[in-house]
């Protein structure tokens, strides 16, 4: 295999992982924009998606499509329960308190998953076979196509939802100013709950479509969550195209780094990028600077 083929292989698999990061990152951005909270537990809902999928498919022997749908619903419901039990009771929460609560929530969810499902690694079957497809000198699995298709679909639906539905507009209003949104009759608390529902649902879907390729276990949530966060940071916490580009960029850089430099340091590359962005351009790569509010 010559170098250009190798390169296109890294690019394609990088884009596929990047799409996953983008979906997770969108979840971060949705919650952050409507509540001002960075949900450290976001990665755990990605894990829950994959693990619920395995549970329904492998143990309860549901048909694949039904199992996956149920898994997304269950993970989204867990997101709502999490918001109801851990976030809503906090009044006058400091940012520090919220960080600690969501970290506590994330290790609690991870711990419960470990107790219920054990420490084993599981895999979901690929959605439509394992016959490789050759594309531009690189090899692609049908699962990669599923990832691309579902990501594009989800981003489009997301965009339409925020642009045209009344709930989507209400969520955007909360992002601009929560108090003003409340004054014009938007139920801000319901919107907070709704943003957790959306974010955990999207995260869960990401967890499900990647599980056939990378396997899943109770502790995949930390890394996936952090990478999603990194994507959202690169995108400047926008719940639109910025985060998607951030995710794709991250995925490609990581894949190139793993292929050309060292696979052991693959994850370190992500975090070096994260630190650089936080240090140099905390407002994200694609947005203009915003003045700091005190």
């Amino acid at each position: 295999m010559d170098f250009s083929h190798q390169l296109s292989q890294y690019l394609l698999s990088g884009l596929a992982t990047g799409a996953i990061y983008a979906l997770i990152g969108l979840g971060f951005a949705i919650i952050y924009n409507s509540t001002g909270i960075i949900n450290f537990a976001q990665g755990e809902f990605v894990m829950l998606g994959g693990m619920f999928g395995v549970y329904f498919y492998e143990i309860l022997k549901f048909p694949l499509a039904a199992a996956l749908l149920l898994a997304v619903l269950c993970a989204a419901a867990s997101g709502v329960i999490f918001e109801r039990l851990a976030i809503r009771p906090l009044r006058r929460a400091t940012p520090l308190g919220l960080v600690i609560i969501t970290i506590g929530g994330s290790i609690l969810v991870r711990g419960i998953a470990m107790l219920v499902w054990g420490k084993d690694t599981h895999a979901l079957p690929t959605f439509s076979g394992d016959t490789p497809i050759a594309l531009a000198g690189a090899t692609l699995l049908p699962q990669h196509l599923w990832i691309f298709a579902l990501t594009v679909l989800l981003i489009a639906v997301n965009k339409l939802f925020f642009q045209f539905t009344i709930t989507g507009k209400a969520l955007r209003a909360c992002a601009v100013n929560r108090r003003a949104a409340g004054l014009v009759g938007i139920d801000v608390r319901r919107m907070t709950m709704f943003s957790f529902l959306l974010a955990s649902g999207m995260g869960a879907l990401a967890g499900i479509i990647v599980a056939p390729l990378t396997m899943t276990s109770y502790d995949v949530g930390i890394m996936l969550g952090l990478k999603g966060f990194c994507a959202a940071i690169i995108g400047g916490m926008s719940n639109g195209i910025g985060t998607v580009l951030g995710g794709l960029l991250l995925g490609v850089l990581e894949s190139l780094g793993a292929g050309l430099i060292s696979s052991g340091y693959k994850d370190a590359i992500t975090f070096i990028i994260l630190l650089l962005i936080l240090f140099l351009r905390p407002q994200g790569l694609f947005s203009r600077g915003d003045s700091e509010r005190v």
Partner: protein, 321 residues
């Protein structure tokens, strides 16, 4: 301040006489770990409790101390004390340099940046196999010695570790009641207000971050020379969260609280074998429940409870007043 010193002297007296009252090396061995974790918790508390800046990467500084000491002594034959000093100096410089960009960040961003730093260091411990021994660890680290006195028994280690821990606590008590301590608390409440009052918030935050990192690093060196073996799994993200839990349980800004938190989280798993599998669930629950219902931590919670009890007992309250 005098009362504080008296309180500290009493605490030190208890700590130093404890080994006389217990038999069996096992408990003593556990108490050595309580000492190390107390140092780490107090160090984090300086940053988290006083200055209000979270760090989810404390385990990295602890690990750097352990690994630098371990590698210099086990692979290069250095004197343990010299390697401890070199490690502290190196980590101090590192923390000071990265402190400026990191502490410019606030809240969630600060948490994520320190977390990212912690994970990078953890990956290096695992992947830099030629130097660190990789995931299987670094064996054969020599114990500490002082002239002809070798710290080779649990009892001797106890006194070595606890002398260091008491020193760190004394430093923290002093700091809390100094001008710097007040400035830090001002930053905690409002950074802008503190700056308006003439506090150089940016520099002070970096200084306390560096101070906290160096203490953690020294604790790491002492750990390496006491256990004589280090492996990456001790210094992961999980341990950073555990340290935050210790500080939160004890109470933000409470030095004896940090000791209490460290003691609880170190002793519980030892005495509840069943705790082993559930520890992660328990930490999660503790973090949520404490932040929600007892944000001041155990020490403050006990004080509130005590006052409430006294109010229920009017006769005694009258006598006290």
């Amino acid at each position: 301040m005098r009362r504080e010193l008296l309180k500290f002297a009493l605490f030190a007296l208890v700590v130093l006489t404890v080994p006389a009252t217990i038999k069996g090396g096992y408990l003593l061995n556990v108490l050595v770990y309580v000492g190390i974790n107390t140092m780490l918790a107090v160090a984090l508390n300086l940053l988290l409790g006083f200055a209000g800046q979270i760090s989810l990467g404390q385990a990295a500084f602890y690990g750097l101390g352990a690994y630098i000491s371990g590698v210099l002594t086990a692979s290069h034959g250095w004197n343990p004390w010299l390697s401890l000093a070199v490690a502290a100096l190196a980590v101090g410089v590192l923390a000071f340099v990265i402190g400026f960009p990191i502490l410019k960040l606030k809240g969630h961003y600060l948490a994520m940046a320190t977390l990212g730093f912690g994970i990078i260091v953890y990956i290096v411990f695992n992947e830099f196999v030629d130097v660190t021994g990789g995931p299987s660890g670094l064996p054969g680290i020599p114990g500490m010695s002082f002239g002809s006195l070798r710290f080779d028994s649990d009892l001797k280690s106890y006194y070595l570790i606890w002398s260091a821990a008491l020193l760190v606590m004394l430093l923290a008590v002093n700091l809390a009641h100094s001008r710097i301590g007040r400035a830090l608390r001002a930053i905690h409440d409002s950074e802008v207000a503190a700056q308006v009052l003439g506090v150089n918030a940016r520099l002070l935050k970096v200084q306390i971050f560096t101070c906290s990192a160096v203490i953690s690093c020294v604790a790491g060196s002492l750990y390496a020379h006491t256990v004589t073996f280090v492996s990456p799994s001790t210094f992961g993200f999980h341990f950073s969260v555990e340290l935050v839990t210790m500080v939160i349980i004890g109470g933000l800004g409470s030095i004896y609280g940090s000791f209490l938190g460290a003691a609880l989280l170190t002793l519980l798993p030892e005495f509840l074998r069943a705790f082993q599998d559930y520890d992660i669930v328990v930490y999660g629950l503790l973090l949520i429940v404490m932040t929600m219902f007892m944000p001041g931590g155990l020490v403050q919670g006990a004080e509130t409870l005590w006052r409430a009890l006294r109010r229920l007992w009017p006769g005694r309250a009258g006598q006290d007043a």
